[in-house]
Amino acid sequence: MSLKRNVSLATGLRYKGQGPMLTFVLHRIGGLGMAIFVTVHILASFLGGELGVFLNTVYENWLFQIFVFFCALFHAINGLRITILDLFPKLLEHSREAIWIEWAVFVPVFGIAVLVIVQSALGG
């Protein structure tokens, strides 16, 4: 008898795949985050009433907006990187540099967006 094949989410996340693994995980979180946003958005419109209003307050909350923007932006930029590398496999020799470029684009864009969201949320 042998141990069952069992790779739990926690076990998988503990694998030390360095930078590429981090982008892989964040890409999945990004996709899931956007799916949650769309679901909440549809449910809020569909259900209406007190529950609808409550769901509205959830996805209109500025913290949730930062989370959703993170998900959408990272998913888009990382998806673009993967698409380019898939179309031009020779560039995979520079995969590490591609990830650095991805972060170099993501961080300032996300930072500015967070600044604007926080300013408008706290500044009124």
Partner: protein
């Protein structure tokens, strides 16, 4: 220096679930992880089980997770991983005992890509080699280096999710034959790897390339296969 070696243990005849055992060992910085495991087996606990054969990075028997990453125990030095070392079996395959995993699903996937030379044409008139230019040979040189250690396949999140996925090692082998100018079954292999459990499950996570002890650019090879199956051109 003193090294703390934490080892994944599972004895199917006694244990219901796995456990870890920690050993403190006197070691040199230049000792390999395989040396530490041999020491534990020889002097501390003879029941410890792990695979090893050539012990020189050629046979690929001793691939395992060392401090959370797939590596060959015979190619990894203590100084590469520090003095607190955790050794675990490869992910995504059933554990038979301690660090030994059941490699059958891995080899089943390997067989799917027809991992052998196919050429039904008659031999050249002199009855000797089917010649190819150095450029033609160089086209698939990198993917000939695979030692089937499974470090790549078991580092792949897609394989963790489903062992039906052929995995990077099988795809590397497909690359090795598809881009070989002497082989005549490229289209058949391309058809096979274009199945749902083939190329489509590669999400360019890149773990395979980082895990490969032979430094094969696996993701690049898979990328070339993706492009070849889309365009239908083997160039």
């Amino acid at each position: 220096m003193q090294v703390t070696l934490k080892v994944f243990r599972y004895n199917p005849e006694v244990d219901k679930r796995f456990r870890y055992e920690t050993y403190t060992i006197e070691a040199e910085e230049t000792d390999r992880i395989l040396d530490l495991l041999e020491y534990v087996k020889g002097y501390k606990d003879g029941t410890l089980s792990f695979r090893r054969s050539c012990a020189h990075g050629v046979c690929g028997s001793d691939a395992m997770r060392i401090n959370g990453r797939n590596m060959l125990a015979c190619k990894t030095l203590v100084r590469d991983v520090g003095d607190r070392i955790t050794v675990e079996p490869l992910l995504g395959l059933k554990v038979a005992k301690d660090l030994i995993v059941d490699m059958e699903p891995f080899f089943d996937n390997y067989k799917k890509v027809l991992p052998y030379f196919i050429n039904e044409s008659p031999l050249p008139e002199n009855g000797r080699e089917r010649l190819q230019s150095p450029e033609q040979r160089a086209r698939f040189d990198e993917t000939t280096k695979c030692i089937l250690c499974a470090a790549c396949t078991t580092s792949c999140p897609s394989f963790w999710a489903s062992d039906q996925y052929y995995g990077p090692a099988a795809l590397v082998t497909a690359h090795r034959f598809i881009f070989d100018s002497r082989d005549e079954a490229a289209s058949e292999r391309m058809h096979i790897i274009a199945e749902t459990d083939g190329l489509a499950r590669c999400h360019t996570a890149y773990n395979c390339t980082l895990a490969c002890p032979r430094e094969i650019p696996i993701t690049k090879a898979i990328g070339e296969l993706k492009l070849a199956t889309i365009t239908g051109k083997v160039e």
